[in-house]
Amino acid sequence: MSLAPFPVITALFMAVFLAALEQLSSRRRILDILSLLTALAVAAVDFLLLDGSLSGTDVYWFGDWTPMGRFPAGIAFVIDPASAGLALLSALLTVAALLFSWHHFHAVRTYYHTLMLLFLASLQGFALTGDLFNMFVFFELMGVAAYALTGYKIEESGPLEGALNFAVMNSVAGFMVLLGIALLYAETGGLNLAWAGAVLSGKPPGPAVSAAFILLAIGFLTKGAVLPFHFWLPDAHSVAPTPASVLFSGIMVQLGLYAVARIYWVVFSATLDAEALRGIFLGIGVATALTGGVMACLQRHLKRLLAYSTVSHSGLMLAGIALLDPRALGGTLLYIVGHGCVKGALFIATGVLVYHHRSVDEKHLRGRCRRLRWTGVLFCLAGLALSGLPPFGTWAGKGIIEETASQLGYHFLPPLLSVCAALSAGAVLRAAGGIFFGLGHPDVITSTAPATGEEAPETDHSRGPTPRIMLVPLVLLLLASLAVGALLRVQQVAELAAARFVDRTGYHALVLEGRRTPVHQPAPPARPGMAPALAATIAALAVAAFFLAPGPLQGRTREGVKALLSGPVALLRRLHSGYIGDYVTWFVCGTGILMVLAQLCF
């Protein structure tokens, strides 16, 4: 019997079961323990699936509806190392988030645990499925669980605002996905990814095919928070409960990019013009990474800062995918795992600050957290890891992406990506320096930032020591990220996963005919270089020093800098206006431009 459906089924069943415990008195710890056990069980199954998929990709047909002839009438889960690995990452991040919520909530409602498990189930299903419509259903389930989690603190207007923006933008994205699915179904007559790919392969790309790809890509890139579809992300991630933000930034956004990559390689890679696509996606990716990095530097609301950092890293990952190269894809997968752990750790560290001071405002917290020494050290370490300090997973992933980019002739890409990583990591380090060490002064740039700093009764206000159980997931996540970078085995698995990922004919043969084809084993992994990564880390420290140390932002030159920067800063802030109407306008403009580009280039 195959284990493939169990992650989704277990999580869904337990979500409903926990909802039924509503009537129980003194149920808090029961819910905590049960949901934690469920997430651990899901993680264990995912690990077994990943281990099994290394020797050969596994296909599971629901209800034993195997293909008739070659036509897939049923719905398939396709377990290859990439999908199982991302499912494992989502389960582990859920474990960390649930561990953290042990002390995080003052009083928790039952539906918090139900929603977290529902979200886990949808993440699992989205990663594992090999069927387009199934993907859409899990996309929407993920969305609904995430909107409800975002609006969890329903007594405040901030979370409601964020949840509304999030829900409207992602619903519109869902329409795009569905329109794309409809067009693709009209072209190919099937909803299975492998079938659609097999029908399309070798055909010249008609307008309907390229429109279908662009619609699907726009839908999933909105989830992936890529310019100009990223506006909802900071609004939502900054107001969601901290454990939910761990999952949003650590895996949900990345799964959007994963879906684009999956659909491209399985369905469209033999049809569309790779050169044109590479140009378009590289451009969007770099623009996103830069915008996110700059916006992160302009924030004083810590969770908002981290959210913009996620936007920036999402752009970096899209650039990694856009190289359309197996080695770069392996690097991107590695980066997704390394970044997910680091970003989860940063959100949890922010949650510890909320636990003690009920505030996430950098200005308000400046110098007040000197006694939280361990949290401070871990926060700084995570900030350094975010810039790609060896041997964290972010170093290995980014290094591989950059080296492949140079080999492919994109010599401008490595320094650019390093600058982007340094910008948001520098912002994190600046915040850490101010909050834990009392460095720096109020500066001209962040003082105009939104400062909704009060985090009302999500948690207890405490002056005691940090509960151990809050620091456990923080340390574990950092260790995990360290292991991802330091262990050669992980890089091997990532490169194997990428080789299997881009093998479209092998995927088609396996899903449609059940025939295994030998995969060309990738060469033994070459470790990325240390020097460029260290340069990025030094650049991040320089960014932090620019804000904290006596320099152009303080003293006599202050007014000059203010006059110079206030224009562009105000413009950037005005673009991220917080109004749904503006976001939709940007969305429509982006869609129109991409559609026109696709019709001209493909």
Binding site: V137, V144, G151, E161, L164, H576, G578, Y579
Partner: protein, 114 residues
């Protein structure tokens, strides 16, 4: 095969998005969202439509009869369920927001800028 349904699909989508972009009332905004969503129903149904086809209930019609594609109808049904869930959630948010801030206008509240 007529082009009319596809034109209506594009029209519904654009009208819905236009409505969201300029909306000054959250309930109106949610309604516009579902005007846009109805374009997806129409596209799915018109893709599966067969001229002169009957409903795809295979028990009651002869085996060689022309019938419309049942797959897209299943997709549309699923889509409607998803739409109902999301609209219920969104309307609940809108109502709660009205209770808190006393306004339905998404542009009234000073938003988080930047």
């Amino acid at each position: 095969m007529t082009i009319l349904p596809y034109l209506v699909v594009i029209e519904l989508l654009l009208v819905g998005l236009y409505g969201i972009a300029g909306s000054r009332n959250t309930i109106h905004l949610v309604s516009c969202l579902f005007v846009a969503q109805s374009s997806t129903y129409l596209l799915l149904l018109s893709i599966g439509y067969v001229q002169g086809g009957t409903a795809p209930i295979t028990d009651e019609i002869p085996g060689n009869a022309r019938m419309v594609d049942p797959v897209v109808q299943a997709l549309t049904l699923t889509d409607i369920v998803v739409g109902a869930t999301v609209s219920a959630l969104l309307l609940a948010f809108a109502l709660q927001r009205y209770k808190l801030t006393g306004t339905m206008d998404p542009r009234r509240e000073p938003p988080q800028r930047g």
